[in-house]
Amino acid sequence: MSIIELIFGPQHPALHEPEMFRFHVDGEKVIEAIPRIGYVHRGIEKLFEQKTHVQNIYLSERICGICNVAHTLTYVNVIERAGDIDVPPRAKYLRVIVAELNRLHSHMLLLGAVAELMGFTTLFMLIWRDREKIMDLVELITGNRVISAYNTIGGVRRDIDSDKADKIRKVLLKVEEEWKEYKKTWMEDPTITRRTMGVGILKPRDALKYCVVGPVLRGSGVKSDVRKDDPYEVYGDIPFNVVTYDTCDSWARYMVRVDEILESINIILYALDNLPQGEIRRPLVRRLPEAEAFAKTEAPRGELVYHLYSKGGFKPYRLKVRTPTFANILGATIMFKGERIADIPVILGSIDPCFACEDRHTIVDLRSGKSFMLSSREITRKFSRGSKP
């Protein structure tokens, strides 16, 4: 059989992560995956240099709408490191709470969407129903369901009172109960395990070599979490476990996220119980000295890096952003090798690219040159018949 080129993409949201994959397939088997990224390149790094430090908080927030809290958190961290600005302890705890709520909603978003992709629509609906509760909490604290605009240089912008704290606690305990149930489903249900187990293997050594980060790295059994290794805010004081799975497949990467949801809930509950009193922000610093700073945080998708060069003044000289999916894409090309076409969505889902991209794929038959379009679900349906036990 001749080798067919299969084009996958090119819609994809966050900063550098939009991608198109060109798969070379022999029958059912993927031989090579070549990504083409940059469809959503908006020139943000250049824009950073033209806006002031204060305006850049909101620009960094819009690199990725899903993990927006992680982006502002890293951004204010890098500014605070460069300008030696200290943050009141209450603000640090509040930042942790909102960052973990953001992680919860991001993981639920992914797990729900993947469940739908695998044909488990009931689970998708149930997970997304629970996710709405988290969105409500985010709205209650920050004033918007998605984009939070919560972190600012030198603190946070809003406080929570005891009523809000009680509500968060109540909702989270309920969600935790539900998630213990869903975890069982993710571990045992054949709809999920048969589609994900043993698919998209990434060995620990390869994972490190290809510099993947976050849940992908932890799914390969490497104990690496920025919150533990390089504690920022108050993660050093909060007890939590770094979740790792050593089966190195897609299932492991999903399970890392499932367990992280439970861990995140515990972190938020701990932070609420230990929330210190006091002010929530310092006066806004608009001007930085000449400095260089490097900050990283654990975004829902993995390590997020900001590297700032300041020459003094109101604007940064250079601000480099490395988003987690940019690091994970290369690892994904390794996972695809030798897998079936039907598994492509599941593997791509396991690195958690922002999911909207998954909706339009073209298949080009190199022999006839004809091209036709299929959605990921249709691909799954078309190719999974008879190809999986």
């Binding site: 390149h41 490191r81 490190l208 993947v212 690496s224 490097f294 990283k296 890096v305 480099k320 690091a327």
Partner: protein
Amino acid sequence: MKSVKELFSEQEIVAERARRVYVKISKDKLRDVVKKMVELHDGQVYLSCITGVDWIDRMEVAYNIWVLPESCNYTLKVDLPRDNPEITSISDIIPGALFHECEVYDLLGIVFKGNPILKKPFILPEGMKKEFPLRKDYKI
């Protein structure tokens, strides 16, 4: 030798903060240092990012490498001439550098010799074949 820090001499270390070490090294030494870093900890290192900066009189490439066992980030800075910025790729030692190098080349025009997929445009729109938007003389 136990720590990566011992690979560098006193003069090379520019600044040191909690879990951050900033090092300035020469272009020729870079590959050697990266290789030793990887070997020292049996591959327990990964590349966080490569930052390219245009300082108008020169170019700078900063390799940020996280060393897991030491929980420390090493920023290896290399200065390059601005009119012909060229450096040897480290993608054969750390394959994860492939995309990072492409990105820096695409936005700043720093050539990484030996990178097999170096091309332009990589993330820029198709039309921008000769422009380097992150250079300071690029006007929008």
